[in-house]
């Protein structure tokens, strides 16, 4: 077998994967702060925060909106076109993935995850 051809083939696939990686921006989801998410509007990011219990959760036809609060004090309006995760209102922490849209000043989430307090309590007890 011609090893040159094989190396070329592997290099070709490597370039293919690298170019897919470079051409899309939603492959990684780095954790950022609210401030950073706003600065990097349009970039796919991941944010950990809390539900701002002082404001209401808006139910809409295509999804729901809420305000995410950070420990440092910042807040941001979030819209998620999907169903609310279970125990959303009681979640200790909320993780959102998506992009901040500059024009509407709303974070468009394509994924919302909740971290429930009980899970952490149990984990702490065990260690």
């Amino acid at each position: 077998m011609n090893s040159k051809k094989i190396i070329l083939f592997i290099a070709g696939i490597g370039i293919l994967i690298a170019s897919i990686f470079l051409l899309s921006d939603d492959m990684m989801s780095p954790y950022v702060s609210l401030k950073e998410a706003k600065q990097r509007a349009g970039t796919y990011v991941q944010i950990i925060g809390k539900l701002d219990k002082g404001t209401k959760i808006g139910q809409q036809e295509k999804g729901y909106s809420f305000v995410l609060k950070e420990d440092r004090g910042g807040t941001m309006k979030v819209f998620h076109s999907g169903t609310k995760p279970l125990n959303f209102e009681h979640a200790e922490q909320i993780v959102i993935l998506g992009r901040y849209v500059q024009s509407t000043e709303i974070f468009a989430a394509d994924k919302v995850l909740v971290k429930c307090p009980s899970k952490y309590e149990k984990a702490e007890k065990r260690t």
Binding site: S29, G54, T83, K119, R126
Partner: protein, 729 residues
């Protein structure tokens, strides 16, 4: 005095016996028959003890022996026997015991099959068992409650009468979950054996005769691992209500990665069987396959990725052991491989690319790279944690986008290799007809959807695989090529299923009122109510008129699953698609008029009342009976419901709504945000809106093709294995 449970003692005994087995096997390496026979006898003794410990654990579950922590955490009295048996492998400790048991049986099979490399294989098998047993010694399934939870349980005091276990997580209480882990572990446990053969080849410097039997074990391992993954996917679809069968979750990926390497290895072993070449690749991948299985165990059992997965993990106590374990095999394998690398001789494959073996090599490389890309993606949180404080996971988009080009390359190579396979080459005309037909069907069937390019290409590719392989089966000696064609047809069917279910499915979400017949997407649905027992069920009438069918699915808050809502989808299966109904959110009509969370100063309407929260305050803080009061203005009149604390108990201070017998209660509060949760009993004239259920109805287009495809792939693998078995004996 410390009482050690019989089960733990049994595990110690097995450990000691296996260390002795290792001793005699090592001494027998010089050809001493006495040592070999002693090693064998001792090994059988270890089998008896492992079997005994498994029976002990099984009986502990069946007879509700909740003094064992593992039984307490995974079982309860009300569970049926079949689930009590399944609870043996519901957790980490029991599943490692099952793994040891399976691997031990494989060892017995090797002992009884007159195997050329018996002593080396048995050494590798024995060492692996010793490592797994060390994990079991560290975290024994036979630990008592007062050892694992000394703060809650007292050793001296007997457990109270009627003491019950925590029960199994409701998600695991499913027939598919009974079968999924044992089948997966068959694949994991048998991965040791191709590794052992590769070590034997390197030690004996005989690079050809290891292959035949190793290939057979690999087929077994690949097929069982594949079926195990499939069972997990099917269970996720049927029980979890995610609506899908695959989510690129670390736990799913960690089994898929070794499986892809096994598929690559199987094809490359096939080339060695036919041409004698690719020896180095085969030895390398045989070693690597087992290492990946161990790495997979590390990912899923150590909890390193628990923040990046929907699955829950056990504690991280075992991760140090497992890393040591991986390093041991990695270093031993790498050392032998590198020192022998130059000495391995094998004929080349020839310069020509356009042959069956030429194209298959490229296929093997691509499948392997695909596995490695998924490996890097899954490990990204770990890899990135070396560089940044906050680990970076990859998204599902990553896997989906990478799968498109790599999948297409793999399919193209697969079909080309089949056409070049040399058993009477295909005529050009039928191939062109197939290609044109597949392309037409692919385009026509997907033209209506918005994102049409990927499904068009893959539908055509899937159909083309089917056509070429079925044509091949029809015109050639079907018996000889059946396993490979069956598996390849399975790939085609699965690709079609992924396209139909992924691109032609629809989801509708609607809030429906109890008792009212409503059209939700493709079905007519009437919500008939929620039952009142502990494991409540949501009931619906599916369809309309005479043909209507009463259906119900579980919908309750599970204490076992951290007080989360547990609900099960209802699936109406059909040839053209499954109708998938999830009860999303139940809302009691009374909740809207009787309960409210108010912020200070906020005014809401609760039925016939206008309610404002004037403030929230504490009272008598210095006394023995401090209290919290909410000052609420209801239709202009102030009331102050509250809660009084006395003797560490809460006593509600209820007040009556002025001039009525309607109670007002304070149910919860948040001093910092100044919010209060209020309950106001509805009056006789209060209009209570009907109860509603938010439902999610999806139509999953021809998802059964995915199941059929995976079964065909596994069937092809098992058939190939059975065939080889017959030809050797």
């Amino acid at each position: 005095m410390m009482i050690i449970p019989v089960g733990t003692i049994t595990i110690y005994i097995v450990l000691v016996i296996l260390v002795l087995v290792m001793f005699f096997l090592t001494k027998s390496a010089s050809g001493n028959q006495f040592n070999l026979v002693t090693g064998r006898q001792l090994y059988y003794l270890s089998s008896a003890f492992i079997f005994f410990s498994l029976i002990l654990l099984l009986s502990a579950f069946i007879f509700d022996q909740f003094q064992f922590s593992y039984v307490y955490e995974n079982s309860s009295k009300d569970m049926s026997n079949i689930y009590k048996i399944a609870a043996v492998w519901a957790g980490k400790e029991g599943s490692f015991l099952l793994w040891v048991f399976m691997l031990n049986i494989f060892g017995v099979i090797i002992l009884r099959s007159n195997e050329k490399y018996e002593s080396i294989l048995m050494m590798v098998i024995t060492i692996t068992q010793i490592f797994l047993l060390l994990l079991l010694v560290a975290e024994s399934p036979f630990r008592y409650l007062w050892e694992t939870m000394p703060e809650s349980f007292n050793r001296v005091a007997a457990l109270p009468a009627g003491f019950d276990g925590m029960g199994m997580n409701p998600l695991l209480l499913d027939p598919w979950m009974v079968a999924h882990p044992p089948v997966l572990f068959l694949g994991y446990a048998s991965a040791t054996i191709p590794f052992g053969y590769a070590i034997a080849a390197l030690l004996k410097k005989d690079y050809t005769s290891w292959l035949k039997n190793s290939y057979r074990w690999l087929l077994f391992s690949m097929s069982t691992l594949g079926i195990g993954i499939f069972l997990g996917g099917y269970w996720a679809y049927k029980v979890l209500g995610w609506g899908g069968y695959w989510g690129w979750d670390p736990v799913e990926n960690s089994s898929l990665i070794p499986w892809l390497v096994a598929v690559a290895l199987m094809h490359s072993m096939l080339i060695q069987r036919r041409t004698g070449s690719l020896v180095r690749s085969n030895i390398f991948m045989s070693l690597f396959y087992f290492i990946l299985v161990l790495y997979s165990t590390f990912l899923t059992r150590s909890g390193v990725l628990s923040n990046f997965s929907v699955h829950s993990f056990g504690g991280g106590g075992a991760s140090g052991y497992i890393i040591f374990f991986i390093l041991f095999f990695l270093i031993a394998g790498a050392f032998l491989f590198i020192t022998n690398f130059k000495k391995i001789e094998a004929p080349g494959l020839g310069e020509e690319v356009a042959t069956w073996q030429g194209i298959t090599v490229y296929g093997v490389i691509t499948v392997f790279i695909y596995g490695m890309v998924i490996l890097v993606g899954t490990s990204m949180p770990i890899l990135s944690s070396f560089f940044t404080a906050q680990p970076i996971p990859v998204t599902a988009h990553f896997y989906n986008k990478i799968s498109v080009p790599l999948g297409l390359i793999i399919i193209s190579l697969m079909v080309t290799a089949t056409m070049l396979s040399g058993r009477g080459s295909l005529k050009k005309i039928p191939v062109i007809i197939f290609a044109v037909l597949a392309a037409v069907v692919g385009i026509v069937s997907n033209i209506i959807i918005a994102d049409y390019l990927v499904p068009m290409i893959f539908t055509a590719a899937g159909l083309f695989i089917l056509a070429v392989n079925i044509y091949d089966l029809a015109r050639l000696n079907a018996k000889a090529i059946l396993p490979s064609r069956l598996a390849h047809i399975g790939v085609g069917v699965m690709v079609l299923g992924i396209m139909t279910s992924g691109y032609h499915s629809s989801t509708v979400q609607k809030k429906i009122i109890q008792g009212k017949e409503e059209k939700v997407g493709p079905v007519t649905l009437t919500f008939t109510g929620l039952s009142d027992d502990a494991k409540s069920r949501a009931s619906f009438k599916l369809g309309t008129g005479e043909a209507a069918k009463n259906i119900s699915m579980e919908y309750y808050i599970s204490k076992r699953a951290n007080n989360t809502l547990y609900r099960e989808p209802y699936i109406k299966m059909g040839i053209f698609g499954d109708i998938y109904i999830i009860p999303e959110q139940y809302k009691e009509g009374i909740a809207g008029v009787a309960f409210a969370r108010l912020k200070k100063g906020e005014e809401v309407t609760m039925g016939d009342l206008k309610v404002t929260l004037a403030g929230i305050r504490s009272a008598n803080m210095m006394s023995k009976q401090p209290a919290i009061h909410a000052d609420v203005i209801i239709n202009g009149k102030k009331v102050s419901p509250g809660v009084r604390f006395h003797d560490r108990h809460r006593h509600p201070i209820e007040v009556l709504l002025l001039g009525t017998k309607r109670k007002v209660k304070l149910q919860g509060w948040d001093m910092r945000n100044k919010t209060a949760d209020l309950y106001i009993e509805p009056g006789k004239k209060t209009l209570i809106p009907p109860d509603t259920m938010l439902v999610n109805v999806s139509e999953k287009r021809m998802i059964w093709l995915v199941w059929l495809g995976t079964l065909l792939i596994a069937g092809g693998g098992l058939l190939a294995m059975v065939r080889i078995k017959r030809s050797t004996t």
